[in-house]
């Protein structure tokens, strides 16, 4: 197979890659003036025609989302950039912001031109302090160069980007939770409709896009839709609702591998290829027992499912929730799935915003049931109880406002359905694997 030439990551290993001088030396911003003189609708159409789907987790077609804005809206329209990257196992946006902030800023400018927005809010998780300082410096460079602010490059287009730091809450990655948080409230997701494109930030039409999505926009404008569609996986002809999985994708690989890393590849590589060819294989000469395909909320692949294509459609074909953030976490065969699942449930219980009862209670009780199992007091019927709780929470059964709950339920469903004998053996053994470190945190 021919080696894929990185696009989003083409510059990240250069010294000084974050500076505007270096970005411009590599051709960055060189055609910005030309693109800003195009009609906004034409930019939207290019992005729509490229087939770009959002990289944040849901995979919604980006150009289509932009067309949901009201036509000829007289008041302000906002772009909110979702840089609240918090899904366990995910760190691709951190690389993009720390190593090549101008690639992102150019994408933001292009997107704002397309949607006729003069103000973009970049919601950045607090923990990314280095990203914050890098972006702040890059935005200052742009103002000095006439690339942000009033009358950008003499085109008459105005744009300011405001950096807004979060305060450590996973739910702020949900687009309406992010909007509520930006407005200075608790990050409780909103009931939809209205969708943000109609009534979003400060009750104005708003588009929320992920960092990697906006970086793709830059390259789609420079290289064209045909280039973008030459990468990745075309639509499945047997599924008229499949828009395909086009373009490059940043895959994160972590956990029990020799070389954890973030690598850019065409959408559609398999989990096995990522582990063997890009992450140096499973560590300590062991085998993979389970693999998270796209952040823990997507569930697990078993060792029999490692040839699953990690495109937007692939993980769903083997019972996972979806591609998610394409963050692959490898669990080796010396590790208990009971312990892994407990870690996932503890995370979701900690991060449930508490607004919807099925999620607030469900995440909590699933963690409690796993605590009981891990204390040696589990009952085999606990497994069906876990499945019952998991089956009753989320957007899919229709009991919650947002998808956090589906993401909390999915690892439970996949772990028990795909690894049930291991759970039964664990319960029968009446052993306990709760560690002293976990007891210390629970006492906190």
């Amino acid at each position: 197979m021919a080696t894929f030439e990185p696009v989003l990551f083409a510059r990240i290993n250069k010294s000084d890659s974050a500076s505007i001088r270096s970005y411009q030396a590599d051709g960055g911003y060189s055609r910005l003036k030309e693109f800003l003189s195009m009609a906004p609708g034409d930019v939207t159409n290019i992005v729509k025609d490229s087939g770009l789907r959002g990289r944040g987790g849901a995979g919604f077609p980006t150009g289509l989302k932009w067309t949901f804005l009201p036509k000829d809206h007289p008041g302000p329209i906002y772009l909110a950039i979702n840089a609240d990257e918090s899904e366990p196992g995910t760190f691709n946006n951190r690389y993009l912001m720390e190593k090549d902030p101008h690639q992102l800023i150019e994408g933001i400018i292009l997107a704002c031109h397309a949607i006729r927005s003069n103000r973009a809010y970049l919601y950045l998780r607090y923990e990314y302090g280095t990203s914050y300082r890098t972006l702040d410096a890059a935005i200052r460079e742009c103002h000095a160069a006439g690339i942000l602010g009033k009358n950008i490059l003499g085109t008459g287009f105005d744009l300011d980007i405001i950096l807004h730091r979060g305060a450590g809450a996973y739910i702020c990655g949900e687009e309406t939770g992010l909007i509520e948080s930006l407005e200075g409230k608790r990050a409780w997701p909103r009931i939809k409709p209205p969708f943000p494109a109609i009534e979003g930030l400060f009750r104005k039409p708003t588009i929320v896009n992920n960092v990697e999505t906006l970086c793709c926009v830059t390259h789609i404008l420079y290289r064209g839709t045909e280039w973008f569609k030459s990468i990745g996986v075309p639509p499945d002809p047997s599924n008229p609702r499949d828009p395909g999985s086009y373009g490059p994708k940043l895959y994160c690989i972590s956990g029990h591998v020799n070389r954890p890393c973030c690598v850019e590849l065409p959408l559609g590589v398999t989990a096995r290829e990522l582990i063997e060819e890009h992450a140096g294989g499973v560590w300590k000469g062991r085998k993979a027992k389970a693999v998270v395909p796209g952040g823990i909320s997507m569930g697990f692949l078993s060792d029999k499912e490692l040839d699953t294509k990690l495109d937007f459609a692939g993980p769903g074909k083997v019972g996972c929730l979806g591609l998610g953030t394409a963050a692959v976490v490898v669990v080796d065969d010396h590790t208990s799935m009971v312990d892994v699942l407990h870690n996932c449930c503890r995370f979701m219980s900690h991060e449930s915003c508490g607004q919807c009862t099925p999620c607030r209670e469900g995440t909590h009780w699933m963690t409690k049931i796993l605590d009981r199992i891990r204390s040696g007091n589990g009952r085999t019927e606990d497994l069906d109880l876990l499945l019952e709780v998991a089956g009753s929470m989320g957007i899919i059964p229709g009991t919650t406002i947002c998808g956090l709950s589906d993401g909390a339920a999915w690892p439970v469903k996949n772990a028990i359905n795909k690894f049930r004998p291991e759970f039964e053996d664990y319960i029968r053994s009446r052993k306990s694997s709760i560690t002293s470190a976990q007891k210390m945190m629970a006492a906190h």
Binding site: P76, E85, S86, E87, P88, G89, T90, F91, N93, R94, R125, Y126, E127, Y128, G129, T130, Y132, I162, H164, R165, G166, A167, G168, A169, Y170, S181, L182, E183, G184, K185, R186, A187, F202, C252, S254, G255, H256, P260, C261, C262, V292, I296, A327, V329, V331, T335, V340, N343, C344, F347, H350, E351, C353, T435, S436, A437, Q438, M440, M441, H444
Partner: protein, 157 residues
């Protein structure tokens, strides 16, 4: 005697032009106060609310949602050190790293060393999974940590 210095008030007011209303300055204001005073006291909440033209309960409601801001009964130390406990770090010893540091310095998660030097916290995924286990010192990430390298880092703070 007010809780917020004139300098802090000016910094908060400097955020106003970035947003169409003052309520959106709640998180920026809380960060400014928390960073400087190492806690957000009841008096500080009232004064932030006055500046933002909100009821103090609205500021308190937002503040307590995030589980990030310390109240006056448990203020931050000079530094804050977060230990990631989510899946990628837990698979590579993140929880045990936290435990070893707590034992070494005689401190529990969520609390500050007796000398006030640093507050230790567990965190959910810090987004540095390629360097698991990772820690965050204030807002700077350090990767591939061991008990030894963590202690060396803390001792140099």
């Amino acid at each position: 005697m007010s809780a917020l210095s004139e300098e802090l008030r000016q910094k908060i007011k400097a955020e106003f032009p970035k947003y169409p209303n003052k309520r959106a300055v709640t998180l920026p204001a809380l960060h400014l106060v928390h960073d400087t005073l190492r806690a957000v006291s009841r008096e500080a909440i009232v004064e932030i609310a006055e500046l933002l033209e909100l009821h103090p309960s609205e500021v308190h409601d937002t503040m307590t949602f995030y589980n990030f801001f310390k109240e006056e009964d448990n203020p931050l130390g000079k530094h804050r050190v977060w230990f990631c406990r989510s899946i990628s770090c837990a698979l590579r010893g993140g929880e045990e790293l936290l435990e070893s540091v707590c034992h070494r310095y005689g401190v529990h998660p969520g609390h500050t060393t007796p000398d006030g030097k640093f507050t230790v916290e567990f965190a959910e995924c810090l987004g540095a999974c390629e360097g698991a286990p990772c820690i965050l010192v204030n807002d700077v990430c350090h990767m591939d940590m061991t008990p030894e390298s963590t202690s060396a880092l803390i001792d140099k703070l």
